[in-house]
């Protein structure tokens, strides 16, 4: 085949361009440490990497949610433990003072104690998580329980809102895609609504203890509070025991996500990360080839017959 100088120089230029392009690509991979620097480097891999990124962000969010949820459950548990203690104290007082032999002075003292217990329990029932009332259903900006001078307790009875009987309210914790753990926030399930439940019984106890005009009726009233107070204690215990499997589930999910996340990152890394060793070796080889072809071309494209003619 007939060869011309232009053919040789064109070939040289084309090869140099291909080699420098390959070197540039390796260099870019070394600098960014990534194999995929733009969607066209590997469209399928890019889609997988983007999917992985979305997953990682979602996992971080779930872990955050779980942490918040655990906080709330722990605070609820602490609060309920204290309430339980107080209810036990009140029940003991009721038992002791249901004896007809107790003097009115002792009863008056007991009444003061029970009043103290009542207010403390109410304070605990109105406790907050951040700036929201925990046992207030959806009305998280209003203290759920209040009492009047006669120790008559109400649940959300202040104007303008009237409690929606259907407002059971709950605190939802998203722990996975379309999976939520819910925590009951309806105070009535914990403390009754004032016409029944712990406040009602404490009120009866106070009235019974302070009944100096008819001690016999007072004694009878006190006696009738003992069992209901026990029942209130059981109600609190039930609510506490609701919390523990939820807490377990939150912790198990947190563990799961914490183990899952590095697996996702590893899978992404397989697609996205550049194999630095291999890239460095390839770059070295390319550079050698580049220098070789330049040296060869330099020898060829300079000489011609004209250098040898006289």
């Amino acid at each position: 085949m007939r060869i011309t100088q232009n053919m040789m120089s064109n070939l040289f230029v084309r090869n140099i361009q291909k080699q420098t392009e390959a070197m540039l690509q390796r260099q870019e991979q070394l600098v960014s440490q990534k194999r995929i620097n733009r969607p066209s480097d590997d469209p399928g891999g890019m889609a997988r990497v983007l999917d992985g990124r979305s997953t990682l962000v979602a996992i971080d969010q779930y872990v955050e949610n779980i942490k918040q949820g655990k906080s709330r459950l722990e605070i609820t548990e602490m609060t309920l433990a204290q309430v339980d203690d107080l209810v036990q104290q009140a029940r003991k007082l009721a038992e002791v003072n249901s004896d007809a032999e107790i003097t009115p002075e002792q009863r008056a003292l007991a009444a003061e104690k029970v009043k103290g217990i009542y207010d403390h329990v109410m304070q605990l029932a109105n406790s907050r998580f951040g700036d929201r009332y925990m046992f207030a259903g959806y009305q998280t900006d209003r203290a759920p329980f209040a009492r009047n001078a006669n120790y008559n307790a109400t649940y959300h009875d202040s104007p303008p809102a009237t409690p929606d009987p259907a407002d059971t309210g709950s605190f939802q914790i998203p722990i996975a895609d379309n999976v939520k753990v819910s925590v009951d926030a309806d105070g009535r399930n914990y403390f009754g609504d004032g016409a029944t439940g712990v406040f009602f019984e404490l009120q009866k106890l106070i009235n019974g203890l302070e009944n100096t005009t008819d001690p016999a009726a007072g004694t009878a009233a006190i006696r009738t509070t003992v069992d209901p107070l026990e029942a209130a204690h059981v109600q609190i215990m039930n609510k506490r025991s609701e919390g523990s499997p939820k807490l377990y589930r939150l912790e198990a999910s947190e563990q799961y996500w914490t183990h899952f996340k590095p697996m996702v990152m590893e899978a992404m890394g397989r697609d996205e990360d550049a194999d630095i060793t291999r890239v460095a070796v390839e770059l070295n080889n390319l550079r050698t080839a580049y220098e070789t072809s330049m040296a060869a071309a330099a020898k060829i494209i300079q000489r011609g017959l004209v250098d040898f003619l006289g």
Partner: protein, 474 residues
């Protein structure tokens, strides 16, 4: 005539011929690097012999034609491959620009802003009365709207850039067809005698045809007068006889699919021929603008409409977010507000009412259930996993779009590389046939110079002999 004078005449003829040969060689050497040049060769043949008593005796050499060495069929094939290369090169260049728009490495990409958007709603669902969570929802949603709007605008800009390239390309086409027509005239008049070849003009015309086919795929053939007829698309003539037809670039009107953008029109009717162009840079540009980029814009629009703004053609159908949001209740009791406004990706925004007062964000599902009710916010956050976009989620749709762009760029790159190799092979073959080899020309120079010297020697010998003859008869 006497043989001595005949000798002089043979010498003179030889001198002239070798001189002309050296001149042609010199032309080759001078044009070794001229693009499109085909090496030329001087054809010499013997003069008609004279009858003598000893038989026919030759009368020397005469030059007939200067002919260029080239392969006729190669020209057409190269033009076709040039057109293919032009098409993929243009498509690759335009798509690489678009790829930058979908760069996901900076944190402002669709993937990141969508993830942040979903997370902000989840945070709100855990604390629906929190002012910080509400401002964050407003901010992240606005960031998402900004990102989508920006990408759409960037795609429109890419289309506008292609419009400019098409307009300038058509100007080049018209310039080249004018040049070809001009060369046609020159070639026809030079070769009208039938004896000479207009070699340099033909070379230039071939080059012009190659440059033209790079821009727009052509069909060409040479008529009996040596003029070339050039047509594009489905038989639209650009150069014929002595006439040229210049293409124009008006803006297409609705309801054409490329409305609002530059169209290519042939002055015959005038009729738009954009859809008839299948190769050359024009085809690459038009295909990228009207099919690829338009497709990306449609996908982005669909994402924006299904997720956020709703479809202006079917105004009663709300988007996923707006359906839930309008049915919910804000902290101040407001309801019925759309969260996103706009008609699609081009003008997507968060409702200014919401931006003015984030308490209007409808996290609650029931009027009396504020402020603790977060069921609506949770429902909106759950849209992240809803299969709303052709069987995939919103995140999937965004990721697929990016991947699609990457795939298209990769395809263009690979075709361009293949075509470039193909054309390089043909170029090489053309060089091999028509290219100038300096070593060969050097040898020719030496050859012709030696012949010239010998002819000169012959003349001086003849001159000596004549002198002898003259002196003999003194």
């Amino acid at each position: 005539m006497t043989q001595l004078f005949g000798l002089l005449s043979i010498g003179a003829g030889a001198l002239l011929s070798q001189q002309r040969a050296i001149s042609v060689t010199g032309n080759n050497i001078a044009n070794v690097n001229t693009p499109g040049y085909s090496r030329q060769r001087l054809n010499m043949e013997t003069k008609l012999p004279m009858d003598t008593p000893v038989g026919p005796v030759g009368l020397g050499v005469q030059t007939t034609t200067v002919e260029r060495v080239y392969d006729r069929f190669l020209g057409v094939q190269m033009n076709n491959e040039s057109a293919s290369l032009g098409r993929w090169e243009a498509q690759k260049g335009a798509l690489e620009r678009v790829e930058v728009v979908f760069d996901e490495s900076g944190g402002y990409g669709l993937n990141q802003t969508l993830s942040d958007f979903w997370n902000s709603w989840q945070d709100l669902s855990m604390n629906p009365s929190g002012t910080i969570e509400r401002s964050v929802v407003a901010a992240k949603s606005q960031a998402l709207a900004d990102a989508i709007r920006q990408k759409y605008a960037d795609l429109e800009q890419a289309q506008a850039d292609i419009d400019a390239a098409v307009t300038s390309g058509v100007e080049d086409i018209n310039r080249l067809t004018a040049e070809i027509s001009d060369l046609n005239q020159k070639i026809a008049s030079t070769e009208s005698g039938g004896t000479v070849n207009a070699n340099d003009y033909r070379d230039r015309r071939d080059l012009a045809l190659k440059q033209l086919s790079e821009i727009i795929g052509i069909n060409s053939f040479e008529d009996a007068d040596g003029r070339v007829v050039v047509s594009v698309g489905s038989g639209r003539v650009l150069v014929e006889g002595g006439n040229t037809y210049a293409l124009t670039t008006p803006t297409a009107l609705a309801p054409a699919t490329n409305a609002g953008h530059v169209d290519i029109e042939w002055p015959g009717a005038p009729v738009p021929i954009s859809s008839e162009i299948t190769s050359g840079k024009m085809a690459g540009w038009l295909q990228t603008r009207d099919t690829k980029i338009a497709g990306y814009m449609r996908n982005l629009d669909e994402l924006a409409q299904t997720l956020a703004t709703g479809d202006p053609i079917r105004p009663l159908t709300k988007s996923s977010v707006n359906t839930l949001h309008a049915a919910g209740f804000g902290l101040d009791g407001s309801t019925g507000n759309d969260f996103f406004i706009g008609s699609g990706a081009a003008d997507m925004e968060v409702n200014p009412l919401i931006l003015a007062d984030p308490n209007r964000i409808a996290a609650a599902s029931a009027a009396g259930a504020v402020p603790g009710d977060a069921r609506n916010a949770a429902a909106i956050a759950d849209l992240r996993t809803a299969l709303t976009m052709s069987g995939g989620t919103f995140d999937d749709a965004a990721n697929v779009l990016v991947s699609q762009v990457g795939h298209d760029v990769q395809e263009a790159k690979s075709y361009q590389s293949h075509q470039a190799d193909m054309l390089a092979y043909l170029d090489n073959y053309r060089e091999s046939v028509s290219g100038v080899n300096l070593d060969e020309e050097m040898v020719n120079l030496v050859k012709y110079q030696a012949a010239y010297n010998a002819a000169a020697k012959m003349i001086s010998m003849g001159d000596e002999m004549l002198n002898s003859l003259m002196n003999m008869v003194r």
